[in-house]
């Protein structure tokens, strides 16, 4: 897992209000981590701020798992 991927995990953990050790790529954003739609737009803002990737609020609805968030970020790096 690259540096950016680890940073995505940290930011997902931040919006999920969880320890980063409790966040793994296979977890589902909503069901497992409890991140609602409002958390997704905060995640988009954090990803843009820290990694420079621009993800629209609407686009951020799509990923179902942490792995899919990582994939979305990597597709824009």
């Amino acid at each position: 897992m690259g540096t950016e991927d680890k940073r995505v995990l940290e930011l997902v953990a931040k919006v999920a209000r969880k320890d980063v050790a409790a966040v793994s790529p296979d977890l589902r954003i909503a069901e497992d981590l409890g991140v609602k739609s409002v958390g997704r737009i905060e995640l988009a803002a954090l990803l843009e701020d820290e990694l420079g990737v621009e993800i629209g609020n609407f686009e951020m609805r799509k990923p179902k798992t942490v792995r899919e968030v990582i994939g979305l970020v990597n597709s824009k790096l």
């Binding site: 409002v38 737009i41 905060e42 701020d49 609407f58």
Partner: protein
């Protein structure tokens, strides 16, 4: 029209400040002009260029150069433990800025959505304005005026939730019922009589879909024992006294004279609303969003100036006197 006339009277007496984040849109500008000229509300338009002509007498705000922006960002970041730059990305765009105006009380309500998808309006409103303390979700209702219908509230009736929650579980359905009852009492000054709709009346059918409505009814009553809520009820038992007598008997404060219909899911609420509009020629007002700490209205992207004025009047008619 009666509904809008009543709400316009209320709005005029309250003179609410309503923020429009899409203030450069010509339809929004035309509606804001009417709201101000007819003294229905005090519109604030968020615009890219406050020196643009043709908007004399209207309050114009350019978010990026507004002295309020820094305070809004700081307030949001402190509340959500977010870094300043990320907070600015959310709060500085017009939709975020307008939501913060509402959250801080700088505006009484927001009307948005003519250039934004519903989901984006709802997400930012939930994040920045927040849910009302007693609400668990954002939901919606229509006020229907049905020609020739003598029941409900003088021929008018409320349908919930036709626009937001696709498949609410019993807890959310109970929340929709209680929130709608309180919204209707506040906005329309009715005494709510809430029917929890199903294809079964008081145990006439046995099915998990019925169980959901039975449980939602129990939860809603437990949460708001002061409200008249009955279920599960078929639509005819909810609306027609003679049918209610046969299917329910005596004792229900709701059966046969419901003025609020809570549908079990978005399919039924949306389909039911459109059938009543198209087949019965009903006028419908809404969807009115509810469950937020302060009123927000989501416009259709095809909204006309009349629609925008109506949405703003409904926002302005809500909340304490």
């Amino acid at each position: 029209m009666r509904t809008m006339q009543d709400l316009a009277l209320k709005a005029r007496s309250r003179q609410r400040t309503i923020v429009f984040p899409e203030g450069d849109n010509p339809t929004i500008r035309a509606a804001a002009r009417r709201l101000a000229d007819e003294q229905l509300a005090r519109p604030v338009l968020l615009v890219a260029d406050p020196s643009a002509g043709g908007l004399s007498g209207l309050d114009l705000v350019h978010p990026a150069s507004s002295p309020a922006l820094t305070g809004y960002v700081q307030r949001y970041c402190a509340a959500r433990n977010m870094p300043e730059r990320a907070g600015r990305r959310l709060v500085a765009p017009p939709l975020g800025f307008a939501s913060m105006m509402v959250a801080t009380g700088d505006a009484d309500g927001m009307v948005a959505g003519i250039e934004h998808p519903t989901e984006e309006v709802l997400m930012l409103a939930e994040l920045l304005v927040g849910l009302a303390p007693d609400a668990r979700c954002i939901s919606s209702f229509f006020v229907m005026e049905v020609p020739g219908f003598a029941g409900g509230e003088g021929g008018r009736i409320v349908f919930a939730d036709p626009a937001v929650n696709p498949d609410p579980d019993p807890e959310l359905l109970a929340d929709i019922a209680v929130t709608t009852a309180r919204s209707v009492a506040d906005m329309l000054d009715w005494t709510p009589r809430v029917a929890m709709l199903s294809f079964s009346t008081h145990g006439s059918a046995d099915h998990p879909l019925v169980d959901k409505v039975v449980e939602a009814t129990r939860l809603a009553r437990a949460r708001a024992p002061e409200l008249a809520i009955d279920g599960e009820l078929q639509a005819d038992a909810a609306l027609v006294e003679a049918v209610a007598q046969k299917k329910v008997g005596e004792g229900s404060p709701v059966a046969g004279r419901a003025n609020i219909l809570v549908f079990p899911d978005l399919n039924s609420a949306n389909i039911g609303s459109k059938l009543v509009q198209r087949l019965a020629g009903a006028a419908s007002y809404g969807p009115v969003l509810q469950g937020l700490a302060r009123p927000v209205s989501d416009l259709s992207r095809g909204a006309t100036a009349d629609d925008v004025v109506g949405a703003a009047v409904m926002v302005a008619a809500r909340g304490p006197q």
